[in-house]
């Protein structure tokens, strides 16, 4: 169920049209489908001279150059992945706002799910354990039973 929701949210996030403020009218591509792809790629690329802004949001000259580059690659027929690869090859991984899933980022991606999972498992174990002593505590040792027996007779 949780995986389903995570997936849903991921899809939701991917489908949302992304806000932007910097794109110039002359940059906009004629093909609306290509333009949409260009915009969603831009929202995932970091403006290298800004503070935590995507090139889609940034007014900086360098961001504009990168936006044009992305559109150029798309027009020449690149897939989204090829565009990302091209940009990363040029500017390094730093340019990706959404880090890749690889050896050096594995902790980043899985730490939170593991924490949550661990917490849920701990809760489940606690809930199970809580039930057991109810029956376990009722059992008496043979010594105690003997004592009980004596008391009853006595």
């Amino acid at each position: 169920m949780r995986r389903f929701w995570t997936l849903m949210i991921t899809l939701l996030a991917l489908m949302m049209p992304l806000a932007a403020g910097a794109v110039q009218p002359d940059e906009v591509l004629g093909d609306p489908l290509l333009e949409t792809r260009a915009r969603s790629i831009s929202a995932n690329l970091r403006c290298l001279v800004c503070q935590n802004q995507s090139i889609d949001d940034s007014d900086a000259e360098l961001a504009r150059d990168l936006r044009l580059l992305v559109r150029e690659r798309l027009v020449s027929g690149d897939t989204d992945t090829e565009v990302y690869d091209f940009v990363v090859a040029r500017y390094g991984e730093f340019v990706l706002l959404r880090p890749v899933f690889a050896g050096h980022t594995i902790v980043l991606w899985i730490a939170t799910p593991i924490l949550l999972g661990g917490g849920l498992v701990a809760l489940a174990v606690w809930a199970m354990r809580r039930r057991r002593p109810d029956t376990g505590a009722a059992k008496l040792t043979s010594e105690e039973e003997g004592a009980l027996e004596r008391l009853r007779k006595g």
Binding site: M1, R2, W5, T6, M8, I9, T10, L11, L12, A13, M15, M16, P17, A19, A20, G21, A22, V23, Q24, P25, D26, V28, A43, N44, R46, Q51, N52, Q53, S54, D57, G92, E93, F94, V95, L96, L97, R98, P99, H104, T105, V107, L108, W109, A111, T112, L115, L116, G119, L120, L123, W126, A127, R130
Partner: protein
Amino acid sequence: MTIELGHFALILAFILSIAQAGIGFTFWRGNEMAQRFVTQAAILQFALVGLAFAALVQAFMADDFSVRLVVEHSHSLQPMLYKITSTWGNHEGSMLLFVLILVVFGAAVAAFGRNLPHDLKTLVLSNQGLMVAAFSGFVLFTSNPFWRLDPAPFNGTELNPVLQDIGLAIHPPLLYLGYVGFSICFSFAVAALISGRIDAAWARWVRPWTLASWSFLTLGIAMGSYWAYYELGWGGWWFWDPVENASFMPWLAGTALLHSAIVMEKRNALKIWTVFLAIITFSLSLLGTFLVRSGILTSVHSFASDPTRGMVILTVLALFIGGAFTLFALRASALRSGGLFAPISREGALILNNLFLSAATAGVLIGTLYPLVLEALTGARITVGAPFFDVTFGGLMVPLLLLIPFGPFLAWKRGDLAAVTQRLMAAIIVTVVLSLLVFGFLGFPITLAPIGLGIGIWVMVGAIAELVDRAAIGRVGMAQSWARLKGLPRTTWSTAIAHFGVGVSVIGIVCATAFQTEIVTSMRPGEATEIAGYTVTYEGEELVSGPNFTAEQGSFMIGSPWGGERALTSERRVYAVSGMPTTEAGIRTYGFSQMYVQFGERFGEGGRVVRLWHKPFVLLIWLGTVFMAGAGFLSLTDRRMRIGAPARAKSRTARAAQ
């Protein structure tokens, strides 16, 4: 002269706080003299730091350009409001504000804490004194705002134009009230660990402080978000910027603390966890201060990029957090665990709430620090940006939001999930029907936005359902239901209102993200553009001048689909002294939706780049936070929150029940 007086007052407060901490921590056990000393010291500190702060504000108001800080961050042409806010629109001044709020809270405990057990009060105030000592020392020795300049220049170099906004008057003080307010919870936690005594009375004391701080922090973050939305000029309202995360983490942890403190107060359970959360929450506030002030992160917020200051704050941070956790490790086992409960119960639901919120806090913390750690270890530079947080944080929030309505319905100790679901059946049906209506109204799109809306509706309906259930509406007569509704404790109302607010915010977030329309175009005077049913006509531009800036101002006329036209202006400003350009977006509100117009660069002959957004229901995002914070304040007025005779009687019965 006043500035020297302020400087002197701060030095006195520093020395006094050292004495307060030293004497308090040494003689806390059963010493009436020590208790009186720390109480009076806390109140006197408030007077002294208040004086120091007033002196600094006065220097800014009077354009005293013999004070270095005023020269560096103000200008005689600035409007009076921005002269005053310039006081904390810089590193030194904002740290002094931090100290001021620390002593305000300390003095509040001293003044209102007459009923506190004396040992506990002494320890709390001693710890508060220790923090005042650390931060006033930091201000005096590394970030002193009181230095003079000789010779004094004729004028200053202006406050950063982006900060010249009413937002600066509201956002930082509210945020600090929240951040620093958690210091009281921290001090209570440390006091509980040192004395080894923690009971329901302790929780009853901690809860109001948590509520107040949390409400302030909620408003502070929301205000910051709205400020960024209208000031930064592209209509984004949350960027997952490390500095935003720094304020968001204490909020998440504080929300968890708020809920676990309820369990502790009502059921005397989760003691160790509550103490742990109290420490964590304030530690995250300190971490936020460190991240922002050290220059490790660059952002609009980091006025100071001075490694020395960073090192000092890091040391303070390490001492407080390290000290508190060492204490926790040594003493936590001394705190006896209280009331038992079944997994399916109100307590269990609150634990689940805490689990999700803690995981979310950890997720944000990891995402914020991971790039720094990775670069330090391997030299690899990566960015963790909004797309990462949207996925991980969103994934955690969905189950939490779905579970919210169940919590208040479950009974303490042992709940019945089937029965609760039955009582929620009406709410479930209403939610499904409403969601389907919305889905149909949208034309059955294949996106997942309707699911987001459905979740928001569920949280809102669930909150109302709790009130309906409590008032037995439909089961007893109208008059009796009304009487029941009026008779509900304010804490019940505030729970419902706060949860309702969460739903409102969710709907705002989903609508503003999924259904916004955006047009980037070039316009010449007289031309019109259609957007989301609105007609925006560009009427022309003119040069206007403000007190300390000149601006190209574009005039627009907006025709709404329901008829009626409203004028709007949007500006590109250049500030005279710093020569820095800013944009002032033009915004018009229609119901909860907004038209957002950004006036861009020149384009072609007589044209202008114009960016238009229609943001449907965007105001709900902040309206929801107002509900949440308002509910927090409402809850504070509940009779049961007041500390007095009834509370003591209750805690006695609680102790007897153990």
